[in-house]
Amino acid sequence: MLVAAPAAAAPTAALLDAESLLRRFAATPGLVARFHEEKQLALLRAPLVSEGAIYFAPPDQLARRVVTPSPATLVIRGDALTLIDATGARSLDLAQIPVARGFVETLRTLLTGDFAALRAAHEVAFRVTSERAPRAWLLELRPRGAPLRGAIDRIEVTGVEDTIGALRIVESSGDETRTRFFDVDAAHAFSPDERARLFPASAP
């Protein structure tokens, strides 16, 4: 689970809506979590499975390290995206890869708690799917404009109380990507060495 918590636990009776949820996420000093991801593609009989870890340092540094099946690291610093894998390191233009862009922007916007940006880029629908404590919720985002709108049908974020549990991206083609988060450290303070190692400034 991706935990957004500051030290004090929120009262279970507190209002649970998209905006208040994002305010709580914004208090995250830094985040480390493991993930399990499945890509269901029409080309494949079984999903593609990858596992690894994600790292987020506010306001705009995100790294996604895949351990299996093939080691690869995706680093985002601001709007610069670098992919490091067995073939070397290269920069990518997020504008050309809508699904990756959807993943990155959604996660980053959520974790920085920028509700205005989220609403500007997406039609937002939020509902509580289980009123019994701990309350479960579903945040559904449908891209408003190009280039995401043509490639992504919707993004579904699910969680419990102040935590994000999973992210599901459904593409217009029918393919979808489901990512589950666990072993979360939501109060991680990155040291300068860690920042330099996890979020290198540029492709070597």
Partner: protein, 790 residues
């Protein structure tokens, strides 16, 4: 003013006006070095050099904007690009990838994806398309789908499980050097990161007339941008434009300062010696008329004028200052009652001799096979002849009775007479000759020639050079000065050579002899190679079925790849041609690699980065027909070396012609020696002194020596023709004054910060002064009882 005078002045005025009108209408000045210095054997390199020098890459400025955040820098670059693109000197501004480029790449390459599978299809494809190879391809496809770009790959995978198109896109991306990242649609490069703008200008980077206003606009508009920004912005600039403008500005400032000092010194000299600035003006008239006539004549013969002709020719015509000065001095020293016609009668022959010998010396240059030297010969010969003509016809009409000897002249003359006479005069002449020959014997073997034309420019600002280099390295800009050319009678022949070259360069890069290269091979292969790929693919048995089995084994739904089977069954598409790319939105990326040579052949260029082993490169390309390595700096150096060595030989031939002319005139050894020796010994000793001083000699030193030869012969000739008496005194005065004015004009150039001007000034100053000393010394060998002019 009497009727004759009025008629002559009017005739010259009208003639000058007509020449000026003709020149103004026809004037076309070129600066292409290759037009000036290339003989018939260097046409290919010359054509390539000219086109590369004027290519869009050469005309492109790289601007780097740094801010505390790359996104801010990119935003600033976006705002600035809009204003830059409106400047009339800006042709293109690129701040990010062309949004049409990916679509164009898909349209051109996707249908032909199987024509670019391998540069060695007969060797690679049987392995790659074997059962094991297809299994590996299926696993590779799985990994690609799992990557961040997986959604893009998924869109094509059904038709391209081999990832042929994805590989082509990677090759195109790598062709750009891989240094540029894209942030929010804008290019970013380097560490620390800079937002990058590529600004291509309309005119050449070396056209300072157009580049100076653009650079000023860059500075002003960036300053405004920085003021309006919430974050500090810093600008870095790379491009030849700045250096060319700065160099020209320094040259102009230098020339302006030197001209002002020179003019002031000349005015003072004429005021002191002749008490008249009017005489100074008189000496400029033949120079001006000579320049005008020379320009018009050269334009009439050649249709255009090279800037080097103007520069060299103007310097050579500077010899002609001694013609009007000689006339004025003889007029000033005239006997009582002697009129202009009488004075003219005495100096007409020596003046005509001087002009004839000078023209003979220049005319020898006319036999050169280098077009630039021939043009200089025409320019200088016509200029000298016109200056002599105007001295003999116009200047006499402008002389006034108020031009009389001054006290300063008398004092100078008395000193000159004492210096050039006495019992030791002959010994001094012999000692001077021996001394000059000794210096020549020691110094001439030590003369080293420096033919590096770039060394003639003023040193560049080290901070700007470092900034330029850092920015070019950040974007991995290829070096334009060293490149390879694959030539052929048509695109296909050149592409075949280019294919082979790319393979060899790849191997050289792998072995560390080269950091990288940028080639058209990344964009298009020869038709032959593409067709070989198609044939090798078609030769694979049951490829679609075997691919299905491999995909199924890797977990794919094989039925989703029917597009691949259909593509294999369909006829191979026509190979991609260079013309297809040039007609597409990818034109700007491809055009810099292709040149059409003047003889109908095509040259495809490959640009190198970090060439570490030139010998290995030469060995690698040796077996490839039509492929040549081109080092622009070395090429320019060899051109100048040719020009310099041929000029030196022609100058020698010219000097011999002058001696022969003088011999025919005097038919005796002594006067021939007195007339010719000062120039020959002075020029030889000047060159030898450079050798003794360890100063490398350059083309500009040679130009200075041409001046020395011309003036030196004039000094000797005037003294021989005048003999002793008042005429001899007048000639003594005129050659001494001319030497002084030459030192105050050309000699002052020796203090310039520009190596080129300094070289010209040094050799001219030393040589002209030595010529005068030798002329005055050798005059004693002609000592005759004093006699009057009458």
């Amino acid at each position: 003013m009497n009727a004759r005078r009025a008629a002559i002045c009017a005739a010259f005025a009208i003639g000058s006006a007509l020449l000026a009108l003709y020149t103004a209408r026809r004037l076309e000045v070129s600066s292409a070095l290759t037009q000036f210095l290339v003989g018939t054997g260097d046409a290919t390199f010359a054509s390539i050099a000219q086109r590369v020098a004027d290519s869009p890459q050469s005309r492109t400025l790289i601007l780097g904007i740094r801010a505390d955040d790359p996104a801010r820098a990119v935003e600033a670059a976006r705002a600035w690009a809009a204003s830059l693109s409106r400047h009339p000197e800006v042709s293109v501004v690129r701040r990010g990838p062309d949004p049409d480029a990916l679509r164009a790449a898909h349209d051109l390459y996707f249908p032909r994806r199987f024509l670019f599978l391998s540069a060695e299809p007969e060797r690679d494809l049987p392995v790659r398309l074997s059962d094991d190879g297809l299994r590996a391809a299926a696993l590779r496809l799985r990994d690609a789908l799992a990557a961040p770009e997986g959604s893009l790959v998924a869109a094509w995978a059904g038709d391209d499980p081999l990832l042929a198109f994805a590989d082509r896109l990677r090759a195109l991306e790598a062709a750009g050097g891989g240094a540029l990242r894209v942030v929010d649609g804008g290019f970013v490069a380097g560490d620390p990161p800079r937002a990058i703008l590529f600004v291509t200008t309309v005119h050449s980077a070396f056209d300072s007339t157009h580049q100076r206003p653009l650079l000023a606009f860059l500075d002003e508009s960036f300053a405004a941008l920085a003021r309006g920004s919430s974050a500090p912005l810093a600008l870095e600039v790379s491009g030849a434009h700045r250096f060319a403008v700065a160099s020209e500005q320094r040259a102009q400032e230098d020339a302006a300062w030197l001209s002002a000092v020179s003019l002031a010194a000349l005015v003072i000299c004429f005021l002191v010696m002749l008490r008249s600035v009017y005489v100074l003006l008189l000496t400029f008239i033949p120079l001006g008329f000579g320049m005008l006539a020379a320009t018009a004549a050269t334009l009439w013969v050649y249709g255009s004028l090279h800037s080097l002709t103007l520069a060299f020719g103007a310097a050579l015509i500077g010899i002609c200052t001694d013609y009007p000065l000689h006339l004025v001095c003889h007029w000033a020293m005239r006997s009582a009652g002697e009129d202009v016609a009488h004075v003219l009668a005495h100096i007409r022959r020596p003046l005509l001799m001087a002009a004839t010998t000078t023209c003979a010396g220049f005319w020898a240059l006319g036999s050169s096979d280098l077009p630039g030297i021939r043009q200089v010969a025409v320019f200088a010969t016509v200029g000298v002849a016109a200056a002599a003509f105007s001295t003999l016809v116009l200047i006499p009409e402008l002389l006034t009775p108020s031009i009389v000897p001054t006290r300063a002249q008398h004092r100078l003359l008395a000193w000159l007479r004492r210096a050039g006479s006495g019992p030791h005069a002959r010994a001094a002449a012999i000692a001077a000759t021996a001394g000059a020959l000794a210096i020549a014997a020691v110094g001439l073997p030590r003369v080293r020639w420096n033919d590096d034309v770039f060394a003639l420019n003023a040193p560049l600002d080290p901070a700007r050079v470092a900034e330029d280099r850092a920015l070019r390295e950040a974007v991995r800009q290829p070096e334009l000065g060293r490149l390879l050319a694959a030539t052929g009678p048509d695109d296909e022949t050149a592409l075949r050579a280019n294919d082979a070259l790319a393979g060899r360069l790849g191997a050289l890069r792998e072995s560390g002899g080269l950091d990288g290269f940028t080639s058209l091979h990344a964009w298009v292969w020869s038709r032959d190679l593409q067709e070989r790929n198609a044939s090798a693919l078609a030769a694979q048995p049951a490829l679609a079925e075997r691919m299905d089995r491999a995909l199924d084994a890797a977990g794919f739904r094989a039925e989703r790849f029917a597009g691949f089977a259909a593509a294999l069954r369909a006829p191979a598409p026509p190979p991609l041609a260079v013309a297809d790319l040039l007609a597409s939105p990818l034109r700007d990326a491809v055009a810099p690699f292709r040149l059409e040579l003047g003889d109908g052949r095509v040259a495809l260029l490959t640009f190198l980065r970090g060439l570490r082993d030139p010998a290995a490169l030469e060995r690698a390309i040796a077996p490839l027909p039509g492929v040549r390595f081109f080092d622009q700096q070395e090429f320019a150096r060899s051109l100048y070396a040719q020009y310099r060595s041929r000029s030196l030989r022609l100058v020698g031939a010219g000097a011999i012609a002058v001696v022969v002319l003088l011999g025919l005139r005097y038919r005796r050894l002594r006067p021939t020696w007195v007339a010719a020796a000062p120039a020959l010994l002075a020029a030889t000793a000047t060159l030898a002194l450079l050798g003794i001083a360890g100063t490398p000699a350059t083309l500009l030193h040679l130009l200075g020596l041409l001046l020395v030869l011309g003036l030196g012969v004039d000094y000797g000739l005037f003294l021989v023709e005048s003999g002793a008496g008042e005429a001899g005194d007048a000639s003594l005065l005129s050659v001494t004054l001319d030497c002084a004015t030459t030192l105050l004009s050309f000699g002052l150039l020796a203090t310039s910060s520009f190596p080129a001007l300094r070289a010209l000034g040094t050799s001219a100053a030393i040589g002209v002064a030595a010529s005068l000393i030798f002329a005055l010394t050798f005059r004693a060998l002609l000592a005759q009882p004093a006699e009057s002019r009458r």
